[in-house]
């Protein structure tokens, strides 16, 4: 007798709202049902259901061959995922906190990312896990890891900001034949404001496509992840308090970057602010600025600005971390400066 689908994974079927975390669980669950070659590996994902409970009850449903509790060996099991991918499986690897992806950096950048180019074949695998600050997690439970991988051709990098996108993007990532790093902001996991009723159908959100979260005419904010929500908050204040119309573009996929969407928006508003939670130097704002300079310089009516975390490790104490992270007020100040420019 087949085990029954766990109740908490049927919320969308029941037309109930789900959190971003639940949306991610549903995506994994549905993909595992759809495709027998999809399987999971990671620390404490089986019996415990994952440090954040993303895979709660998966082990009972799918069994030990498809939900594998690994030794604490990110390098080892990510490499094993690559081998399994060669043999036709589609591994989804959970890194308990993405800060601990570093032991797997070698196999990801040297092996997995170069595989297709070397003629060793595609690497259809997903490496996913929680990222981001604001949780008082200190230097090793708060990092954003996108830019450690952004410079590696062959990888895709995805970073959703809503429940709907998280589900659709994760499904698309699992079906993608390229290796995908999938970042989940832990501050968004259970955010009540992000709960929504998802489409009751098998939808995907294609990789490489940004989304206009909010249309505007005076300034473009390009952002992703948790900063989407702070940017929207600032945009709304600009609208009501300053009468300035701000467009917010959520990148959703960082690699490949949706250059067209960025350029199109800048051509409309003529002003660009990039907001990211990751640290400043070598952050994605630099890449975006150069692309806009290449493709839309003539359309710019002001400097390209950025609001980011400061160039430091993520500090533990609340006061320090709040200072470290970009806040809505920072976005507001930068946007006001641009509006007046």
């Amino acid at each position: 007798m087949d085990p029954e689908t766990p109740e908490h994974l049927l919320k969308t079927k029941r037309r109930e709202p789900v959190t971003m975390l639940e949306a991610i669980s549903e995506a994994l669950f549905e993909e595992m049902i759809r495709d027998e070659s999809v399987f999971l590996m990671g620390e404490d994902i089986g019996v415990y259901g994952g440090a954040f409970k993303v895979t709660r009850d998966f082990l009972t449903f799918f069994g030990e061959n498809r939900v594998i509790d690994t030794p604490i060996a990110e390098g080892g099991f990510t490499g094993a995922a690559a081998g399994a991918a060669h043999m036709g499986l589609r591994p989804v690897v959970e890194i308990q906190f993405m800060d601990f992806i570093s032991p797997a950096y070698d196999v990801i950048t040297n092996y997995i990312a170069t595989s297709n180019y070397r003629g060793a074949g595609p690497q259809p695998l997903v490496i996913r896990g929680p990222v981001g600050g604001g949780n008082r997690g200190g230097p090793f439970h708060s990092q954003n890891v996108e830019m450690a991988f952004f410079h590696t051709p062959g990888l895709k990098i995805v970073y959703p900001s809503t429940a709907r996108d998280a589900k659709g993007l994760l499904k698309a990532s699992i079906r993608d034949d390229n290796p995908v790093i999938f970042e989940e902001h832990k501050g968004l996991y259970r955010a009540p404001s992000l709960r929504e009723v998802l489409p009751d159908e098998d939808y995907i959100v294609p990789l490489g496509e940004a989304r206009i979260v909010r249309e505007g005419t005076d300034i473009t904010i390009v952002t992703y992840g948790a900063m989407v929500h702070k940017s929207v908050e600032a945009a709304e204040m600009m609208e009501t308090e300053d009468g300035v119309s701000v467009e917010v573009v959520d990148l959703r996929t960082l690699l490949p970057l949706d250059e067209d969407a960025i350029v199109e928006s800048v051509k409309k508003t003529n002003k660009l602010l990039v907001v990211h939670e990751d640290t400043r130097t070598g952050g994605i704002a630099g890449e975006i600025a150069i692309r806009v300079s290449e493709k839309a310089f003539e359309w710019l009516d002001g400097p390209i600005l950025r609001v980011t975390a400061i160039d430091a490790p993520v500090p533990y104490s609340g006061s320090l971390e709040d200072y470290f992270l970009p806040q809505t007020d920072d976005v507001l100040k930068a946007a006001r400066y641009l509006a007046a420019y």
């Binding site: 019996v47 609001v307 430091a312 100040k333």
Partner: protein
């Protein structure tokens, strides 16, 4: 007839009990502080493991002038940290993320350092500190210093590449280092059997060409004895050594973990092997301490923790703007212009 005292005087035997009580009182105080909302981040208990940290650290040379042995503890080895001179108030400051903490609020819990006193706090990524301690003890060997290092790690950490690479390096270089494997049978929700195929970590010793010994981690004197013997060997050029402590993690991984994946009967069985209870009755049985002396120790350590915690509570959190300082020794990290009074990024 009295049991052997391993060369310890009455005062030393009671010292060990004091350290055990201090560890437990400090952690119990933390639980209280957490309920009151004073603790930032996770809280990790070492309930049932106190004797491992205390017995091991007591066997080493603890000096405050930078010439003693070197310790790298873990979150479950606060007793070792205290024995090496880590101040109780700093422990509370760290957990509360106070600006007065040794890391000025940048890092959590036992993750702090005092090279004079001879301890280096861990980082979270597991395994790394074996590499670090291998290098510290390499420097002792190449400079001919009469010092050794001891590094603690849990059973789960042994699965990391860093653990292996660091240990192998130390073994090959004959670094004067003792690795303590805190085998509490769990790594978060993962049983030791899912982190390694061997039934005892001592089986790994020969694979690295180093000596290895297992000891009952609930028995403070047995741990002290094993580490003291290992230290003697290591100190006299015997190379790297491993000691496995066998005991049980009686609480969840951290306070948020209800540990419902562990058979409650097993936990109850381990409660009977409580290291404090065991040692307490041993002290009395052998007349190494009187009931009054033990009660005094218990009351004093409880009071020390209460006073230190109260003092730490009253202290300030760091100023947010300090977040930019100290990233480099020389390069200045700028404040964001949006935080300054400057209306303009070009002026900030």
């Amino acid at each position: 007839m009295s049991e052997p005292t391993l060369g310890l005087e009455r005062a030393g035997l009671q010292d060990l009990y004091r350290s055990l009580c201090l560890t437990r009182a400090a952690e119990e105080r933390l639980e209280l502080l957490q309920k009151q909302g004073h603790v930032t981040g996770g809280l990790y208990r070492s309930l049932g493991q106190e004797a491992g940290a205390v017995g091991a650290a007591y066997a080493l040379r603890r000096r405050a002038d930078g010439t003693g042995d070197m310790l790298c503890h873990t979150i479950r080895a606060a007793g070792a940290l205290f024995l090496f001179g880590g101040e109780l108030i700093d422990y509370f400051r760290q957990y509360m993320a106070k600006g007065t903490s040794p890391t000025r609020g940048r890092e959590a819990n036992v993750h702090w350092f005092d090279f004079e006193k001879g301890f280096v706090g861990p980082v979270s990524p597991l395994g790394t500190m074996i590499e670090i301690m291998a290098g510290m003890t390499l420097s002792f060997r190449v400079r001919g210093e009469d010092r050794i290092g001891i590094v603690f790690y849990g059973d789960g950490a042994s699965s990391t590449g860093a653990w292996h690479e660091g240990l192998n390096f130390a073994a090959v270089q004959r670094c004067p280092m003792i690795l303590i494997v805190e085998n509490n049978q769990w790594a978060f929700s993962t049983p030791t059997s899912k982190n390694t195929r061997v039934s005892s970590f001592t089986e790994k010793g020969p694979g690295y060409g180093i000596g290895a010994e297992a000891v009952d981690g609930t028995d403070v004197l047995a741990v002290f004895d094993a580490v003291r013997r290992a230290a003697l060997q290591v100190r006299s050029g015997g190379g790297t050594h491993m000691i496995e402590l066998n005991y049980f993690r009686r609480k969840g991984h951290a306070q948020h973990d209800p540990q419902d994946y562990v058979d409650p009967a097993v936990i109850r069985a381990w409660e009977k092997k409580d290291p404090l209870d065991l040692y307490r009755s041993r002290l009395l049985r052998n007349e190494w301490a009187s009931e009054d002396e033990l009660v005094a120790i218990e009351e004093e350590t409880f009071e020390e923790c209460r006073v230190a915690a109260e003092a730490a509570i009253a202290e300030p959190y760091p100023e947010g703007a300090e977040a930019v300082s100290g990233v480099y020794t020389d390069v200045h990290t700028p404040h964001p212009w949006t935080r300054s009074s400057s209306p303009d990024p070009t002026l900030a």
